[in-house]
């Protein structure tokens, strides 16, 4: 294979990895704090994408500026889901929680289908074709912004978790729920905020992807298993792990696509995922 193709695949894999990292960080936060596997994560990504689409279509708001609206909006949606649906069953067995988030996924997807129809939609910004040339590798500007934006938001979240009181409370409850409540942390409030932030992260990832990806009510399915893989590979509850997991999945996916015919390349990240699950189920970084 030509070296250029390989290099191009590596760069494009890393770029995708930046977005996967942000999706994974959101899922990871929810898992870390509440120990819930959120099957609705992909549908929340879909909601983020549609919000961006409608803001662009109706109000001509640039997709990247719309982050100022989509992030708080998705945060609010996350808080509502947590308060109304997840909180009542937080002490129930894991299977019930899995099925509940599955129900939320089905509901949101079909809500989108009902409101906006099954059509595939795209957002066309004026700078869609802009390409940056770095010697022999070419980088699509939109993908680069998504990559940089994803990492920047993840970094902001990291600082928030490390430096602020709320961030510390979140980390404390994720390590020891009961212990945290004993020292006066309102675990309920921590859960609300964590679910809100996790949702806002995936919403932001959706917004960042909208300019170069198509939307449909079922688009979340494409990213659901990816998000799980990112989180499990890096280690559930490990922040850095989720970021590195994002890059691993992005890279293997993109390398698989250039080395294997058709969509067969997708099998590479899956196999890697299963292998890691088998030999180090707690993830690479935990």
């Amino acid at each position: 294979m030509e070296l250029r193709v390989l290099l191009q695949a590596i760069v494009s894999g890393l770029l995708t990895g930046g977005v996967y990292a942000l999706i994974g960080v959101g899922l990871n936060l929810i898992f870390g704090v509440m120990k819930i596997i959120n099957f609705a994560h992909g549908s929340l990504l879909m909601l983020g994408m549609y919000s961006t689409y409608w803001l662009f279509t109706f109000f001509k708001i640039d997709p990247y500026l719309s982050l100022a609206i989509t992030v708080p909006l998705l945060f609010l949606i996350g808080v509502i889901i947590q308060k109304v649906l997840i909180n009542p069953i937080i002490e129930y067995p894991e299977n019930n929680q899995l099925v509940l988030t599955m129900g939320v996924m089905l509901f949101l997807e079909n809500l989108a289908l009902f409101l906006w129809g099954p059509d595939f939609r795209t957002v066309k910004v004026s700078y869609v074709g802009t390409v940056l040339s770095l010697s022999i590798v070419r980088v699509n500007l939109l993908r680069f912004i998504a990559f940089a934006g994803g990492l920047l938001l993840a970094l902001l979240l990291y600082i928030f978790l490390k430096k602020t009181d709320m961030g510390k409370a979140i980390r404390a409850s994720s390590e020891e729920r009961e212990g945290a409540s004993v020292v006066g942390i309102s675990v309920k409030r921590v859960h609300l905020i964590s679910f809100g932030i996790g949702t806002a992260c995936v919403g932001a990832a959706g917004t960042l992807m909208t300019p170069f990806f198509y939307l449909s009510p079922h688009v979340g399915h494409l990213f659901l298993l990816t998000a799980f893989m990112v989180v499990v590979m890096g280690g559930m509850g490990s922040f850095i792990g989720a970021i590195i997991g994002g890059f691993i999945i992005g890279l293997t996916e993109s390398l698989g696509a250039v080395t294997l015919p058709g969509s067969l390349g997708q099998i590479i990240p899956f196999s890697l995922f299963v292998i890691i699950l088998l030999f180090k189920p707690t993830g690479l970084f935990k």
């Binding site: 649906l85 599955m102 129900g103 079909n110 893989m229 969509s263 699950l277």
Partner: protein
């Protein structure tokens, strides 16, 4: 107070009446209603199969479409490529799926993958199979497999013109899987499964070979799920990678079982009947609005999960004592 004989007689009468109803009743149904009944039975069959490993043994699988797809594809391929009767293909598929289930079970349980981790690894296996089916020329890639029709139907080819034949076949399959579930409720094997579900470490310390029995549970479950796959392929005469290995069929199995009552004999049947009839009623009223029926379906599921965590069977059955109740710990 009824004497023992009268009681026996009345049970016998109820049994005969039920049998007559199940046998003759469908003759009165329209083709559409018969189709609905077949779907109810079909999904309850799949739900019961899933229930063996996820309900009784407590290992939540999110990748049962892997076994469903193996059953559907193997029997169809054997029939289309080499003319082998789907009845034989059905058995071959089921045995193969049981082997696959044993393999996946052995791999994952050996490394003590539990709960969400086990669910996700089964999900990854089913996705891998979907991608293989999507890219392999033998399985017809994205086009899937269209089963050629025989004029006038043929028992040997598992093709019937009237829906009644399909009804009797799926009825028989459901009775079969229900007796397996009943057997699990009343046998040593079933007690092992339940012990593992309730407290794995305690079960292990009592000498139950956890790895072995979890793997057996998954293999049994996979075996029956694959039978359902063949039935589906022969009823619809068409399968493709998304139908066979996609998440939709897995979600149907899980939702119906959880709604009816997970880990119970009749839960999957009740859940399937309630959801299917509800979906049909909603569809007939709101059919032109895309997505509404599934939205209500999802809303009902969420409602049941929050307010009736034992599923609908929890309303009928005597509730376990507070301390023994796994839901309210």
């Amino acid at each position: 107070m009824m004497s023992k004989q009268v009681k026996k007689l009345s049970y016998g009468l109820v049994f005969v009446a039920t049998a007559c109803f199940l046998f003759w009743g469908p003759h009165l149904l329209s083709s559409y209603l018969l189709h609905v009944v077949i779907l109810i039975l079909f999904f309850s069959f799949l739900g019961s199969a899933w229930n063996v490993v996820s309900g009784y043994a407590g290992q939540f699988s999110f990748g049962h479409s892997a076994f469903f797809g193996v059953g559907a594809y193997l029997s169809s391929l054997l029939y289309v490529k080499s003319g082998i009767s789907p009845w034989i293909g059905m058995l071959v598929g089921a045995v193969f799926a049981a082997g696959l289930g044993g393999f996946i079970g052995y791999l994952t349980f050996r490394y003590k993958l539990k709960g969400a981790f086990f669910a996700l690894s089964t999900f990854a296996f089913s996705e891998m199979l979907r991608i293989i089916a999507l890219n392999w020329s033998i399985t017809g890639k994205a086009m899937g497999i269209l089963i050629p029709l025989k004029e006038g139907g043929s028992f040997q080819a598992f093709q019937f013109i009237d829906k009644l034949s399909y009804y009797y076949i799926i009825l028989l399959m459901v009775l079969c899987v229900l007796s397996v579930s009943y057997g699990l409720d009343h046998s040593k094997l079933g007690y092992y499964f339940k012990a593992i579900r309730e407290d794995e470490e305690a079960a292990g310390s009592l000498g139950i070979n956890i790895l072995k029995y979890k793997t057996i549970a998954l293999a049994i479950s996979a075996f029956f799920t694959a039978l359902g796959g063949t039935f589906y392929a022969q009823y619809m005469f068409y399968i493709d990678p998304d139908i066979a290995f996609g998440t939709n069929v897995t979600i149907e199995m899980i939702l119906r079982t959880m709604l009816g009552g997970v880990g119970t004999v009749f839960g999957p049947l009740i859940g399937s009947a309630v959801l299917e009839s509800m979906a049909e009623v909603i569809r007939s009223f709101l059919g032109e609005y895309k997505g509404v029926s599934l939205m209500l379906y999802a809303a009902m599921l969420i409602f049941v999960m929050i307010f009736f965590p034992h599923g609908l069977m929890g309303l009928v059955r005597r509730r376990p004592k507070e301390a023994a109740d796994p839901i309210k710990r």
